[in-house]
């Protein structure tokens, strides 16, 4: 270290002071930035699974909570940085508090600003002492590291974890739900006499689709702040799942259960069978060749292909083919009176041996929604269900037929006949000639 001269000492010292301050403040700025990044990334890590899989209400709570916590953390970070930031008027005190200068630095520089004060007896000694100690308060000594390693490492680690989580999430994109539209009612009857709702017109299968729900309060409150979490959630899904999510959303929208509103299984099913959200839903296949066209050609093609393949494997259960144009407009969209032609044969996922605890019985969860009038109509040979009559007057349907979902379910072989009997399409007694 070159020896300071009294005349040039002030400039040398002032330059070093500036370097120390610059290095210290740069360090603090980096530290605050990295910690902010880490905090934000951790928040994103928490919100990501919720955005992808949680209901909107839960995500909204989590998002707002996270936002508040982040805001608090930001305030704490700002206050900490303000406290640690070295201002120009406090840099000398800061340097002296971290070195053994015992006020020499401040004395020299402050007295140098007093032009009227002559250099005193001890001025040369003061300069010499500062020159001797110049290295003891060098920037690299007072701020040993240029980069706050811990904060940087934290930010990097959590960022990498978030990237990995995003990758995993994109790989776990939900499969597009299969939506089938039947064009005939199940026997043309009302499934639920209490609500008057027709069932079985449209059956949706949506494997693994995350459920969204809106609480009543949220539905009423349509402010932008309320919509913000759902918009964010939708955006996250869009960003993470991309086309896959678009397919899911479009399919649900076409099925009348727009995403973000309700893709839940019907209430009675959930209550009766205790189904959970992860249970796969699937549309009961329509009779061969009777699927209606979809809004989206790609989806329609997919559905029709599937329906045809199903029809090829049908056992000739006598399900009547719907007449062309029934319940369908010229655009190929389902009209308000779209009928159905669901065959009970299509409800069976397959014959298997019951592995349940009771040998003489099994639980038929489908019965709750797929009621049929007993004693009506005659079965065909071999116990097959009679073909459902086409909807003679689709335009006069009492109300819009509801889209509803149903299970394919596994029926023990011994019960197949019984189930077919139960779900056989029959003409209502009042409609029988």
């Amino acid at each position: 270290m070159p020896e300071l001269t009294p005349t040039g000492a002030v400039d040398v010292v002032q330059r070093q002071v500036r370097r120390v301050r610059r290095r210290k403040n740069l360090y603090e700025a980096q530290r605050a930035l990295y910690l902010a990044i880490a905090a934000g990334t951790v928040a994103a890590l928490i919100l990501l699974p919720l955005a992808l899989y949680a209901p909107t209400s839960l995500f909204a709570i989590a998002a707002w909570s996270t936002f508040l916590i982040l805001a608090g953390l930001a305030l704490v970070l700002a206050a900490t940085m303000r406290r640690r930031w070295v201002a120009s008027h406090t840099v000398l005190a800061w340097i002296e508090s971290r070195s053994a200068l015992a006020g020499r630095l401040r004395t020299l520089l402050e007295l140098a600003e007093r032009s009227e004060v002559r250099p005193g007896l001890f001025h040369a000694l003061l300069v010499a002492e500062i020159g001797r100690d110049l290295d003891s308060w060098a920037p690299r000594r007072l701020v040993p590291r240029r980069v706050p390693r811990l904060a940087l490492a934290t930010a990097l680690i959590v960022t990498l974890v978030l990237a990995a989580a995003l990758r995993l999430a994109s790989l776990a994109a939900p499969a597009a739900p299969t939506v089938s539209f039947a064009d005939q009612g199940i026997g043309g009857t009302r499934a639920d006499s209490t609500t008057g709702a027709l069932m079985g017109e449209r059956i949706v299968v949506a494997p693994g689709v995350p459920r969204d729900d809106h609480s009543a309060g949220a539905a009423d409150d349509d402010s932008s702040l309320t919509r913000l979490p759902s918009a964010l959630q939708e955006n996250v899904r869009q960003q993470v799942w991309g086309k896959a999510w678009e397919r899911v959303r479009d399919a649900l929208a076409h099925a009348g259960t727009p995403s973000g509103t309700s893709t839940e299984p019907p209430t009675e099913y959930g209550e009766e069978d205790g189904a959970d959200a992860s249970e796969e839903w699937e549309i009961a296949r329509a009779p061969s060749g009777e699927l209606t066209r979809r809004r989206r050609p790609g989806v329609a093609h997919q559905q029709e292909t599937r329906a045809e393949s199903d029809a090829a494997g049908a056992d000739g259960n006598g399900a009547s083919r719907p007449e062309a144009g029934s319940g369908e407009n010229e655009d190929g969209e389902n009209g308000g009176g779209a009928g159905n032609s669901t065959s009970p044969g299509d409800l069976f996922a397959g014959t298997h041996v019951d592995t349940g605890p009771g040998e003489g019985s099994f639980e038929l969860s489908l019965a709750a929604r797929m009621r049929a009038d007993r004693g009506a109509g005659r079965r065909g040979a071999g116990g097959t269900a009679p073909g459902a009559d086409p909807d003679a007057k689709p335009a006069l349907a009492a109300e819009q037929r509801r889209e509803s979902a149903a299970h394919r379910m596994t029926v023990p072989a011994a019960y197949e006949t019984v189930v077919r009997e139960v779900f056989a399409h029959r003409r209502a007694e009042s409609e029988q000639p």
């Binding site: 406090t90 006020g103 004395t107 001890f122 000694l125």
Partner: protein, 340 residues
């Protein structure tokens, strides 16, 4: 002056100070802090007011200091009938050998390097005020003629806190002229044992002069000038100013408990002389620490001694038993926020 010379000067000051202190310690048992404060005041160029009960070594301290410094020493026992002329001196008619008569000034006991004014509060205010000019201007005026007092001029006045009947409280103006006020307390039991052992023998300890007899006054002045050369940064001056302002009811306007006590118990705070005393005392402390500049801690070290006698306490303080020293200590704690 080169750094080496400055360093040597500081070392010389430290050596002299330590030597005087050591010589005094041979005679004065205990009272180390008081001796250091008195020496600090001497080299800072101020005067000291010593308060203590009789018989605890006030006079001994002053005499020992004079002997150690090899300076002239006079003692004035203040009584109620003491006149100003008894202190400053007077003019008398002197008849020369040729028969001419002329008025000749006969210097009083104040003409000494070290002056001990014993029980100064027993003299009348008129007599006490005779000291004012001497302490402030280092000169006395007799019959319109000013007589300069030789440097160094150092006054140590003692106060007897008991037997207050027939005493005259020192006026604030005079109190303000003392750089420090030192309280002498009773010696501890071990110190008392040592006092007995050293003062009741056939060969009591004798003080060896530290300074050369011929050059002692000049040497003392040289050391005092060195003290004045110590650097004081503006931030320390700011701190001193803030500290002194905090001792005044007008300056203590904050919500701090110490400031509330100042407003309640202090009628008048420290004057600018108090700030000067802080800085000068701090300079001596800095030199003793081997530094060419003053720090906050130097100021704090002398604050109580420099400010305690400058606060005029209220009746509420007397009723509550609050001393000025305790107020200064609390103000010191509150003043830490003034450190930038």
């Amino acid at each position: 002056m080169t750094p080496a010379v400055a360093t040597a000067a500081i070392a010389d000051f430290q050596r002299t100070f330590a030597a005087v202190r050591a010589e005094m310690a041979r005679v004065v048992i205990g009272h180390e802090e008081a001796i250091e404060t008195i020496l600090t005041a001497f080299f800072a160029g101020g005067h000291v007011l010593i308060e203590g009960v009789p018989g605890i070594g006030k006079t001994l301290i002053v005499r020992s200091l004079a002997e150690a410094l090899n300076l002239s020493f006079n003692r004035i026992q203040f009584t109620v009938d003491l006149m100003p002329a008894d202190i400053t001196g007077t003019r008398i008619i002197n008849e020369s050998v040729d028969g001419r008569r002329e008025l000749v000034f006969v210097p009083g006991p104040i003409f000494a390097h070290l002056l001990l004014g014993d029980e100064i509060n027993r003299a009348t205010p008129k007599t006490q005020s005779a000291l004012l000019e001497a302490m402030a201007e280092q000169q006395v005026t007799v019959a319109g003629t000013s007589h300069h007092l030789e440097s160094p001029f150092f006054v140590l006045a003692t106060l007897n806190p008991i037997e207050m009947e027939g005493t005259y409280q020192l006026p604030e103006a005079q109190l303000d002229r003392f750089l420090f006020k030192v309280l002498l307390d009773y010696p501890s039991e071990p110190e008392l044992v040592r006092i007995l052992a050293t003062t009741t023998t056939a060969d009591p300890p004798v003080i060896r002069p530290v300074l050369d007899p011929e050059r002692a006054p000049a040497r003392a002045e040289e050391l005092k000038r060195l003290v004045r050369e110590v650097l004081v940064a503006p931030h320390v001056e700011q701190y001193v100013a803030g500290l002194v302002r905090l001792t005044t009811p007008a300056g203590a306007r904050g919500d701090d408990a110490a400031e509330a006590e100042v407003r309640r118990y202090v009628t008048y705070g420290a004057s600018p002389r108090g700030a000067q005393a802080l800085v000068l005392g701090a300079k001596v402390r800095a030199l003793l620490d081997g530094r060419p500049h003053v720090t906050y801690d130097d100021v704090d070290a002398v604050a109580v001694a420099a400010l305690r006698h400058r606060l005029v306490m209220s009746f509420a303080a007397e009723a509550a038993g609050v001393s000025s020293a305790s107020i200064v200590e609390r103000v010191l704690r509150a003043a830490r926020r003034l450190r930038s």
